[in-house]
Subunit: 219 residues, 2 copies
């Protein structure tokens, strides 16, 4: 009897599609950043602030991926950035093929930076390479410092971790040092930033890292 | 060419398994509650408090479902309740078959109430019937009042919605009235409770609803 490992086949074929897409984006000098987090971790608010701060220096476009609604894409458009809303039709993640279709819609080569705001989910998006040049994850203070223990793959696949909503640190039992230690144990090369999109604290360090990533991608 | 809609087949077969499991649990007079939420919405803390308040009245057991770690099962055992940790092996949800295996481990007929703390995820768990008698979801204040718009299926499939962490309402832009209105638009029969497991506010109403559900299940 032949056993077909379906999941492996799907992800292997997605891995190939993602590699091709990444090469094309490199050629076009467009950096694709895949932004991942739980629902409500503050992805859109971070993007609003980042567009406000870097929008005059770089051409930025955003792909909003959601199971439903278009509230996030509307918020991004209000900031003056190009935005497209992708509906995943119940799917819990974006893959390379879906990302490619959304990039075509955006006319990606016109942008220095395209951000894919992935579906709010700490599990599935980490399993599917989207073709992004950088994977960035958010973990908000209210979610708790134990998340690296429970959702390790997301921390392993991310280039940068943004600990968000640090303005509410006084109201939660969140041990930032312990959280960073847990994340670095899973992924020693992960860059960590503590930010508040509300007060602006820590945004400069994150935006400087992102600017460097955009500049390096063009070389 | 024959096209096999694999997902449909999987969920249809799961639906049948779930129905069988639900009938068996009814026969055994054990209510299974499927608790669903984003990562960090406060599922375990709510359970700790609920066990503390109802543990002398009902025999309560808990199944912790996680991609990895056993921190939650340990917390529940500290409260004196029977607990089992199920590792989903990367899977983003529990299905009826996985739930059955965990129930056997717990020796379910010995309990009046078994709570399945599902994987932290607002999307996938809503798609898979676990055989539970009641589906309960949590949405924490820091996640934002727009979540019914983005993750509608979770709100549609839940019997009760607990808006958690209401002690931090002053520090977030969360419109509870708007959130409830959005949830009821998706699911007019959903019961809504505003709770803080930290201060105990609203716990009585939730525990009274849960007690009624346990008592009714035995009839």
């Amino acid at each position: 009897m032949k056993i077909i490992e379906l999941k492996e086949t799907i992800t292997a074929s997605n891995d190939r599609d993602a590699e091709v897409l990444r090469s094309e984006l490199k050629e076009q000098k467009t950096l694709l950043v895949n932004l991942m987090a739980s629902p409500g971790a503050g992805k859109t608010t971070l993007l609003e602030r980042t567009i406000q701060d870097l929008g005059s220096k770089y051409r930025i476009a955003v792909m909003e991926a959601d199971v439903d609604s278009d509230v996030d894409a509307k918020r991004i458009e209000m900031m003056g950035a190009k935005a497209v809303q992708a509906h995943t039709g119940g799917m819990c993640h974006m893959d390379a093929g879906m990302t490619r279709r959304a990039l075509e819609e955006l006319n990606a080569p016109e942008s220095d930076l395209v951000v894919l705001e992935n579906v709010g989910n700490l599990i599935c998006p980490a399993e599917f390479d989207t073709g992004a040049g950088k994977n960035v994850m958010l973990l908000s203070v209210p979610e708790g410092d134990d998340k690296p223990l429970k959702y390790p793959l997301m921390f392993t696949t991310s280039d940068a971790l943004l600990i968000t909503k640090i303005d509410v640190l006084p109201y939660f039992d969140f041990d930032a040092e312990k959280c960073i230690e847990r994340a670095k144990k899973l992924n020693p090369r992960i860059k960590v930033f503590l930010v508040s999109s509300k007060t602006g604290e820590g945004m400069e360090a994150w935006e400087s890292w992102l600017s460097d990533a955009i500049d390096s991608w063009k070389q």
